[in-house]
């Protein structure tokens, strides 16, 4: 299965551990990712807050480049996913916007007819590879490991754009379960907790840090009190917030969280018995804890 890959800026930088685990795991799952050549930043929240048409235009450049390859565009970043998908939907829904985007793209020697399908890599792994295949590939059942799935907000929201519950969409916007099933396929236990799609406040982290950290604190507290050994994420921004800022959260709120926050591809990698180094696990700010290691060794 071949896809056009849109990494986004984060996995090329602070989320390099996500990329490492994607590189390690996808070939084993039969997924081939071909990076979209010369892709540009999708713009996300920041750009949309400043200029609407320009924000859609830079995002549409990626969709136009991808359209030439006639394959789905796949991204590991929830923010990019939402922006690209929203651009597609608005392109279809607003004729006036479509016309102007067409003119803007033309100025850059490109055109777009609206046919690129946007997907998150979780969706590809859950639906195209499928649970059965993954369960069959598991070499090391992660028995006894309590994993809290953190979907974050943006991945599950595109529903409202009228995209409906087709196979392009991840899941239910309020109570998604695809990652839950994936966790169970690795033999681990999926922790039930209420914050799995609560926003972590990433877009405020630069500007209203205390508020963002409060949101992170609530998510960490909920996962911990429900017995999670670790949290699993699907977005570089969520991971950064919950992992790298965890010690700062502890300092600010007097908490003592010590919860590793790993990517779902790292979790799959562990179950497929890939070495920790290859999966980028050494780059976590909050290291794997002793109980977690013991469970992994015993598995």
């Amino acid at each position: 299965m071949k896809y056009t890959y849109y990494p986004g800026c984060s996995v090329k930088a602070t989320a390099n551990l996500y990329q490492e685990s994607i590189d390690s795991v996808t070939p084993l799952l039969g997924i081939e990712l071909e990076e979209l050549e010369d892709w540009n930043c999708c713009g996300a929240t920041a750009y949309m807050s400043v200029r609407e048409l320009m924000s859609f235009a830079i995002s549409a450049r990626n969709l136009a480049l991808a359209e030439k390859h006639h394959r789905d565009i796949v991204t590991p970043c929830s923010a990019c996913y939402l922006v690209l998908k929203k651009t597609n939907q608005y392109f279809a829904d607003y004729p006036n916007l479509r016309k102007k985007l067409g003119q803007a793209l033309e100025a850059g020697g490109l055109s777009y007819s609206g046919n690129t399908r946007v997907r998150h890599i979780l969706n590809v792994i859950v639906n195209d590879v499928g649970m059965e295949k993954i369960a069959g590939l598991v070499k090391k059942k992660l028995k006894g490991l309590n994993v809290a799935p953190y979907y974050g907000c943006q991945i599950v929201r595109p529903h409202y754009y009228g995209c409906g519950a087709d196979e392009e969409n991840i899941d239910d916007p309020d109570n998604p379960v695809s990652m839950d099933r994936l966790i169970e396929a690795t033999g681990a236990t999926c922790v039930k907790y209420s914050m799995k799609t609560k926003c972590c406040g990433s877009s405020l982290m630069g500007t209203e840090e205390k508020q963002a950290m409060k949101l992170c604190m609530e998510i960490l507290a909920d996962a911990e009190s429900n017995g999670a050994h670790c949290i699993v994420t699907i977005c570089p921004l969520c991971q950064m917030n919950l992992d790298v800022y965890q010690s700062k959260v502890n300092r600010l709120f007097g908490t003592k969280f010590n919860i590793p926050v790993i990517y779902f591809t790292q979790l799959i990698g562990l179950a497929l018995d890939r070495p920790a180094k290859e999966l980028g696990l050494g780059r976590l700010a909050v290291k794997m804890t002793r109980p977690m290691k013991q469970i992994l060794q015993g598995a």
């Binding site: 090329k12 540009n40 807050s49 803007a104």
Partner: protein, 190 residues
């Protein structure tokens, strides 16, 4: 949330129209004040006016009070309100629109950190086609509060220790084409 008194003297009858003409804002007239948005919003507790109240103010023409409030700056773009709104109002898009109007008309009620952050981001993306986190953060801190540079040094060092701090800017090849697209889009507006 609080019980802020509204300060504006004359109401602005065109405000509702202004918002309703933006992509995503067209259904705002349908808001029936159920409060689902406010109840779902992760940051409603720090907003001057909750989203529900803000929409009542938009409909009543309190343009100044709406733009002077911190409400839309605290919007994290999590979209949960939009998913849940029984009237299918694209609330998040309205919040974006308010940010854009405020930046354009220079509503800088308090030290506008978000505005500085967004414009630093946009500058870098327009120059390189990609974002570059270290530069973004440094620029932002210089614009707002340079002491943040020191306060956040630890975070930077931590990332560096784990080999997660990018050191080289990442530029796309077709920068001229991207700029042409941006220029064209800039010359038009919705």
């Amino acid at each position: 949330m609080n019980t802020h008194k509204l300060k504006q003297k004359a109401i602005d009858k065109d405000f509702l129209d202004e918002i309703a003409h933006l992509p995503g804002g067209e259904r705002i007239i349908d808001c029936f004040q159920c409060g689902t948005c406010s109840g779902s919003c992760p940051t409603a507790h720090v907003m001057d006016h909750t989203p529900r109240r803000l929409f009542a103010m938009v409909k009543a023409g309190f343009r100044e009070d709406v733009l002077n409030s911190n409400t839309y700056w605290y919007c994290t773009s999590c979209y949960i309100c939009t998913v849940r709104c029984p009237r299918q109002i694209k609330i998040t898009d309205v919040m974006y629109a308010l940010k854009r109007i405020a930046l354009k008309e220079r509503y800088v009620r308090r030290k506008n950190a978000a505005g500085a952050f967004y414009s630093s981001f946009v500058d870098i993306v327009e120059r390189d086609g990609r974002s570059f986190e270290p530069e973004l953060m440094v620029r932002f801190m210089l614009k707002t509060d340079p002491t943040l540079l020191l306060k956040n040094a630890v975070l930077g060092l931590k990332l560096m220790k784990h080999g997660r701090l990018p050191i080289r800017r990442n530029r796309i090849k077709a920068r001229n084409e991207l700029r042409a697209i941006i220029r064209k889009a800039k010359s038009e507006s919705l």
